[in-house]
Symmetry: C2
């Protein structure tokens, strides 16, 4: 006999191993939204008067995020930001799905197209990268642009769709390699540390990748189904599989690991890790830990000497 939903007794479709919970689709959607709301409230992510820019890639996580925030906070000023990275066979579908979603939701939005705005695309970065993967420069570009556009638009919060699997993967890697500067920045809310830096919030901090996927599917949210051709087989994906293997043997591994970091280890690390002083990039004026910021250095590498 099919298992019953632990909340309403209907036929269950979902089993959440970490919570030992069987749920039907309707109760799962409520469960998911309650969880996001609880994360937002626990960490004080959204406060009255906040203007929130939601970075949405067209993927399941950030699409689920945008959808859930719109349901949960109908009165908060939300705007969706999409960055078209110009990756052949990928970025245009991402933008398409993003546009379908914001139209469905009636959410105000902006699209930043790398080729149109900067004259270059992520594909152009290939020749500047010595290792095989472009995830690191792509992350730099996205983080810079998201913050800059949030700052210029007068937003008080920038929301991203990082999920529990993302966090657990980065956490284990940072512990493994002792990356303490990154460890102290791995938190659900990263407050503004410079007048031109906007506070970052991660409302999906406590939902798994699988939960985001299920929520997006059950809500009929449009999201991309193609994988980024530049990230296939990356370290990050291998690590996530590995961590899921561990979670399959140690119930709640990801949840416990991330919670212990935030509640117990992080406060001690923060007390003894001074933040690097930020200056303004001599080229673009945005916050930077070096004379020229990482974004400008990456862009100059691609464009070549002026």
């Amino acid at each position: 006999m099919a298992p019953r939903c632990n909340h309403c007794g209907a036929s269950a479709e979902i089993y959440l191993d970490y919570a030992r919970l069987n749920l039907c689709p309707a109760c799962f959607k409520k469960f998911f939204e309650k969880k996001v709301k609880s994360t937002v409230s626990k960490y004080g992510m959204i406060k009255p008067g906040d203007k929130v820019l939601v970075a949405a890639s067209g993927g399941k996580d950030s699409s689920a995020l945008l959808f859930a925030l719109k349901q949960l906070y109908p009165d908060v000023e939300l705007k969706a930001l999409h960055i078209n990275l110009g990756i052949f066979g990928y970025s245009d579908e991402c933008e398409q799905k993003f546009r379908e979603l914001v139209e469905d939701l009636g959410v105000d939005f902006v699209v930043f197209d790398l080729r149109e705005e900067l004259g270059i695309s992520m594909d152009d970065f290939r020749r500047t990268v010595y290792r095989r993967r472009l995830c690191s420069p792509c992350g730099t570009i996205k983080r810079y642009l998201m913050n800059k556009l949030a700052y210029e638009g007068g937003f008080t919060k920038l929301a991203t769709g990082h999920n529990l699997d993302d966090v657990a993967e980065v956490l284990l890697n940072n512990y493994l390699h002792g990356k303490v500067e990154q460890l102290v920045r791995l938190k659900p809310v990263l407050p503004s540390i410079h007048p031109k830096s906007v506070a970052k919030i991660k409302p999906l901090w406590e939902t798994t990748e699988m939960e985001d996927l299920l929520y997006a599917s059950y809500q009929g949210i449009p999201f991309r189904t193609v994988e980024c051709p530049l990230s296939a087989g990356t370290r990050s994906l291998r690590w996530k599989r590995l961590i899921n293997d561990v979670a399959g043997k140690v119930r709640g591994f990801k949840h416990t690991f991330v919670k212990s970091h935030v509640n117990k280890v992080l406060p001690l690390l923060e007390r003894s890790t001074p933040l690097p002083p930020l200056v303004e990039c001599k080229s673009c004026g945005m916050p930077s830990s070096s004379e020229t910021c990482a974004f400008c250095r990456r862009i100059q590498l691609v464009r070549g000497p002026a």
Copy 2:
């Protein structure tokens, strides 16, 4: 064709994946001893004039430790300590192997028999433990007695056979559960923090369980082959298997993880984690973080009200 020893060109019998190294038995023995010597020297574990008590359980790790220390430091004052825990079908073989080893080596030794000295054995602890496993009270008893006997014998160092696998397992568990007090004590040398506490050293901090086993086997060192009947299927053994699975996919996982902890994360945690104040146990006078020390509380539980 069989692989060749990377050091001497003879036929190799051992492949160390983390170091991508093929070795013959003779070169492996040198490699192992060089590694132990390097660990001892790097962390300043043994200094001229030190009197070292080596805790030896009769198992492969501590037997390899005692043997290697005797070879490497013939001029250092060494004494071997064995604690007979009184576990049926196990402890007597452990003591037997210990006695064979110290006789072979001509090392001065002492055996502390729980039944003779305290009138109780680990088997008596069963009825005081609500969970299935006795590893936790057994650890308390052993740590207490090792320190007490080292202190009373005037030793300056207490050496134990904890290996890299032990450390990686405890490390991951402490991070997982955010056990910060334990994290700051997980280090190759634990200095004395009370006049009655003797400094602890772990010279096998950088050798794996497999390396200890190979060294003990190739040197013909006697060690127990039975497993502790009280520890079969414990959490610790499951975790070690799990970590070895990860290390099979991420080369050098255990080495990198432990090294990053010691060099990068630990110094920051130590700076912000005050050590709990130690008092003297009102019952036995040994150092304790509470009025009555954990050892005395355990013993009183077994003996019942006076």
